[in-house]
Symmetry: D2
Subunit: 137 residues, 4 copies
């Protein structure tokens, strides 16, 4: 359960310093998570059917190297932790040489869409997470 999304850095994503602004990295990561959920057949509609919303509660991101216009990057997303009501994905932004431009841990909580309270991870999500974390995870 690993997903890889490819992207190209566009001109409007570059700030006055000539590189990708730090807020934009979080958009790249979100695109990568969407791709992970889709790979896991857990898209927005699937969650909705289960009466669930997932809410991002923490992002911890390390900026390691700058990104510039035209860079071809891969967002790699893998499961990191599965708790009772929360879980974390590990994400890396990798360039064509395999160098990590940024890496992040993104923690989300599973909410009951109607009651707006945290609730246990649905079985399908837990399976997908655990498959990625592995037996020793």
């Amino acid at each position: 359960m690993e997903s890889r999304l490819e992207l190209i850095v566009r001109s409007t994503e570059i700030d006055v310093n000539g590189h990708v602004n730090n807020a934009k990295y979080l958009e790249y990561l979100e695109w990568g998570r969407e791709d992970w959920y889709e790979s896991a057949e857990l898209d927005y509609a699937a969650f909705l059917e289960m009466g669930i919303q997932t809410v991002t509660v923490n992002v911890n991101i390390n900026y390691r190297r700058e990104c510039v216009q035209g860079d071809r990057l891969t967002v790699r997303t893998v499961p990191l932790r599965a708790g009772r009501t929360s879980y974390a994905l590990k994400q890396e932004l990798i360039d064509g040489n395999g160098a990590v431009r940024a890496d992040a841990e993104v923690t989300s909580v599973c909410m009951d869409a109607a009651e707006r309270k945290s609730r246990e991870l649905p079985q399908r999500l837990r399976e997908m997470l655990e498959r990625g974390i592995g037996p020793s995870g």
Copy 2:
């Protein structure tokens, strides 16, 4: 050495879920840091004169409550740590009732603009940071 920047959440900052997208929070925080540097009379030009660039190396943000269109928010920025070549600012996004919508620690490194290597914090920045952290900081 504390800065407070006021902002109003705009329509184009709202995502499909009806609230401010998590990447947008990092823009709000950047606006707040710009405000802090200006309060400290350490704007872009001042750093440039010293031959220095500051680079964000880590952002650790907790999303606590959602923000919606029309919300009037304050970005509060205070110094948190001052190391030899790096430093951290603490930032909070606060609503009109004093509730914290998000808080973050943002770590930056001081770079020599020419050599692109980390270097010691300039005296002016260190003073501004230490004034905010206080004697027991």
Copy 3:
């Protein structure tokens, strides 16, 4: 029926050329239109109650002068035309010296939210538009 929204150009709105990117102007204009609708007591909820959605079908914008970080600008929005199912607003982005940085005509169509077909402007919207256009409009 004229609305004036004030804004300050923020660091993350600046592109690699050091000025506000041309796409960002359209966000400023949208904020201004939201403000105009609110002044006219025609916010999103009011339209929804009437079973109406407004859809932007054309934007014609002239970029006259660049905008840079820290600029304090006013988005001025006034009605320009009221047709049977469509209408246009005139918008200007004005600086503190009264100079026009950009101006635009924005044409929208009134849609039946359920049937997704164009329909006549609701009376309240027509009144607000005509009040702004004036007798010779």
Copy 4:
């Protein structure tokens, strides 16, 4: 002299109404123009060498159909007009069925980078434009 750039609509490009916000279309168009300039071997560095900057002075865009997350779109860019100091490109945002989601005319002026005054189109740019417009253009 026609360029075609492919893109996929990403989650963070969707607004509260569930479709791509109208400002975002202008970013897509800018990506397309960058691609056109590159195809014409007229990138930013090439203009800089000639002492030239190009400045967008008008965008006239028709929004024809909404775009939603996951849409695979092509930005098609062709020359439309070549004046003495200004020129226009025609751009279309096309979906996989060949339907036009939006089309636009984008007018730019050639500026002397040092004197900040308009100046004649450089020969290379004029050639690329005229090749696209054709003899009857």
